[in-house]
């Protein structure tokens, strides 16, 4: 033990051993937890509806969209854990609105018609500066934010659709070109 690394009550060797053991246990627990979370998400009856919404907002194009990025799992996590002040009721509110607009279960509406219905609902949600707090429009704005956040913080959204640039190495002012792709990093962090 070097003289500048005194840690009362625990030797350095003991610390390292404890750390390695703890890390291994944590990694194992995390892997199990991750797999379990994925299973739970797939079995969640809300998943199909959320996945449909996400895919309509950010579809596959030349890069994979929100469905392939598994954005629905993030949205459900955000709802269930109260991220950004959200709650599971928001999703039900949106579902009710879209089911009514479709006259049937929204998830069963064919692709183009589904996109048209959601686009109309989306336009109404953003028509006013602030929709009524308990309205379906307000609920949709929360859900949409979570879809966008879930996509652009996923590996697919951050690094395939946009440019993931962890170490820019320099700062410079440039002209914006038509083929410029934003850096996903610019939007990381903050609040949902």
């Amino acid at each position: 033990m070097s003289s500048d690394e005194l840690k009362p009550g625990l030797s350095r060797r003991a610390m390292i051993s404890a750390s390695v053991a703890s890390l291994a246990a944590l990694m194992l627990r995390a892997a199990r937890s991750d797999a379990a979370a994925k299973e739970r998400a797939a079995a969640d009856p809300r998943h199909a509806f959320t996945d449909r919404l996400a895919a309509l907002v950010i579809p596959d194009t030349s890069t994979p969209g929100a469905a392939k990025a598994k954005v629905a799992s993030f949205v459900l996590l955000a709802l269930d854990h109260g991220m950004g002040g959200m709650s599971p009721a928001l999703l039900e509110c949106v579902r009710k609105q879209l089911d009514e607009a479709a006259g049937q279960d929204f998830t069963k509406v064919p692709g183009v018609r589904g996109a048209q219905l959601l686009a109309a609902f989306d336009r109404s949600a953003f028509a006013a500066a602030s929709p009524a707090p308990d309205s379906a429009e307000a609920a949709w704005r929360h859900i949409k934010s979570a879809i966008v956040a879930g996509y652009y913080t996923s590996e697919i959204g951050a690094s395939k659709e946009l440019v993931y640039e962890p170490i820019p190495g320099k700062f410079e002012n440039v002209k914006l070109t038509a083929d410029f792709r934003s850096r996903s990093n610019d939007g990381f962090g903050g609040s949902l």
């Binding site: 003289s3 840690k7 956040a149 440039v174 914006l176 934003s182 610019d186 962090g189 903050g190």
Partner: protein, 558 residues
């Protein structure tokens, strides 16, 4: 425990400097840190973590934000850095509702030097004269020219990027090349300069390297400093002062150890020992040295001295003046104004500067020209809207996705740093009836904004809106109410310095009048807050005090 010539309590911005200076001046030093070890590079565990590997993608655990981080969340904390901040359920304190003081802290090696904002501005001559001029607070016993050489030394060691501007309210220093302005900031700088001859908008001056110093590499423009920087590109204890102190071979570092109080020998007028608590086991011990530097952070150092009350110092060690714990300050923040910036959508930037803009004080400079005392400066920054705007505007489908590939519109923000008028009633005390998990009586913080702060903040909002309106965009003013004290994380004062022991706690070299072998060199010694980030000033005074202390010790005067 081994013999030491000096003990430094605290390992943050000033503790690191004290350890460096004292060891380099030949002293055998024990540095005590209450939190755990964070080793440079090795322990920056989230530095390279992408958001998709975090449980909440970087937005934070809502449960933690509502409970154990309910206060710390008001710092620039995120999911990558939340482990750097204390647990609000464990590291408790008291504050009355009328104050609502937010105390943001990091208890680990390096303290807040790892998470600090890095803005590094010299106080101006004006700031050192203000208490004497308007009668608020204890008059400073030193002037700008007394500190200037120490500012030089500190700036060159830590590495500050900035411009030389020859402004009376913002003295220039020894700078590395500036990080510059982006297109929107330059546009505002030009507009302000042409419209207000007495105002200048400048690139921020931050302790981020634009040129290497030793094995510290230049900034990589990641703007994620608070995760820790393996490049060593910003100043922290770990990257800068600790390696220097270790290189002397005279530093012993003791982590996970809380300083409970100081023992006092009244006849000799000396503190003789530090009473310690092992933060892991609760075991008590003592450490002794002829020289003691308190660098645990302003409120903690004041609390430590107040807890050191004894029969010979019943109101706390160093408190014969009854001023210990008084004149506690912060800067008023939160009154920020934002504007869109039209007409430059063909301009962009690459890289993320860990920096922004500053505008030095322009009110009450030559004389009293506003209906409040002192003044304010601004900081802020600009950028283009990111992909996040997708959650705030209409659109779905391929076209929507394509649109978010490109950046959104420009925005620029100004936020004032309002000087807090020193008030005797803004105070830190100890509630000996309530204890924390370590058995320490709770610190109570009662700092309130007064009418002067409110007037200055309102003035700053109005002026910011007027300047931003020059850009021709949409101006949005946020927060008609200022945020609670503590928000700026510039808490300071409580051990004011002065020549007269009856009217001050520390002398002009940061020594307690009542125990001259105790130096208080974190922000507790500050007599006024000025209108700018104070850490550079704490560092300059620490180096100055350490040089003085080493001389005194060498001459047998301690």
């Amino acid at each position: 425990m081994a013999e030491f010539e000096a003990i430094v309590a605290g390992s943050g911005i000033t503790g690191g400097w004290a350890a460096k200076e004292l060891t380099e001046r030949g002293l055998k030093v024990l540095m005590i840190e209450r939190g755990p070890m964070i080793e440079h590079r090795r322990d920056y565990k989230t530095e390279f973590t992408p958001p998709w590997e975090l449980p909440y993608r970087g937005f934070g655990d809502p449960k933690a934000l509502a409970t154990s981080k309910r206060i710390q969340r008001f710092a620039w904390m995120d999911e990558w850095t939340q482990h750097m901040f204390v647990d609000d359920d464990v590291d408790v304190y008291e504050t009355p509702p009328e104050s609502g003081f937010l105390w943001m802290r990091g208890y680990h090696l390096g303290g807040r030097s790892l998470m600090w904002g890095r803005h590094s501005y010299r106080m101006s001559p004006l700031h050192f004269e203000s208490n004497g001029r308007d009668g608020h607070g204890v008059p400073w016993p030193v002037r700008y020219q007394d500190v200037a050489p120490w500012y030089d030394l500190v700036e060159q060691f830590i590495g500050v990027n900035g411009t030389v501007d020859n402004l009376p309210t913002l003295p220039d220093g020894k700078y590395q090349p500036s990080m510059g302005l982006n297109a929107a900031e330059q546009r505002l700088a030009d507009a302000v300069r042409s419209h207000y001859p007495d105002r200048r908008l400048l690139p921020g001056r931050t302790a981020n390297l634009t040129q290497a110093i030793g094995d510290r590499a230049p900034c990589q423009f990641r703007d994620q400093c608070a995760r820790g920087c393996s490049f060593g590109a910003y100043f922290s204890t770990q990257s800068s002062t600790l390696p220097a102190a270790r290189a002397t071979g005279r530093l012993t570092l003791l982590t996970d150890t809380i300083v409970e109080s100081l023992e006092y020998d009244a006849p000799k007028r000396r503190a003789t020992a530090l009473r310690l608590i092992n933060a892991t086991t609760g075991e008590r011990s003592t450490a002794r040295a002829p020289l003691i530097f308190l660098c645990t952070g302003s409120i903690n150092s004041v609390s430590l001295l107040l807890r050191s009350a004894s029969a010979d110092a019943p109101r706390g060690l160093g408190n014969s003046s009854d001023l210990l714990g008084r004149y506690v300050m912060d800067h008023v923040k939160g009154d920020w104004v934002l504007s869109t910036v039209p007409g430059i959508d063909d301009q962009m930037y690459l890289g993320r500067r860990p920096n922004g803009i500053t505008m030095p004080r322009f009110v009450n400079v030559a004389g009293q020209d506003a209906d409040f005392l002192r003044g304010y400066s601004y900081q802020g920054g600009s950028g283009r809207a990111t992909w996040k705007r997708g959650g705030e505007e209409a659109g779905i489908g391929a076209e929507f996705k394509q649109k978010l590939r490109q950046p959104g519109g420009w925005q620029i923000a100004l936020e004032p740093n309002v000087e807090c008028l020193p008030s005797k009633d803004n105070r830190v005390t100890i509630n000996f009836d309530r204890k924390d998990k370590y058995g320490l009586p709770l610190t109570r913080i009662d700092v309130r904004w007064g009418e002067n702060e409110r007037k200055a903040a309102a003035h700053a909002r109005k002026q910011a809106a007027a300047m931003l309106s020059l850009l021709g965009g949409e101006v949005i003013t946020f927060g008609s109410e200022t945020r609670p004290p503590g928000t700026a994380i510039h808490e300071m004062g409580g051990a004011s310095m002065g020549e007269d022991p009856r009217n001050s706690v520390t002398n002009p070299y940061n020594q307690l009048h009542d125990a001259p072998n105790v130096f208080v060199t974190d922000g507790a010694f500050m007599n006024s807050s000025g209108d700018r980030n104070p850490s550079l000033t704490y560092m300059a005074f620490t180096v100055r005090a350490a040089a003085h202390a080493a001389d005194l010790l060498k001459n047998g005067a301690l």
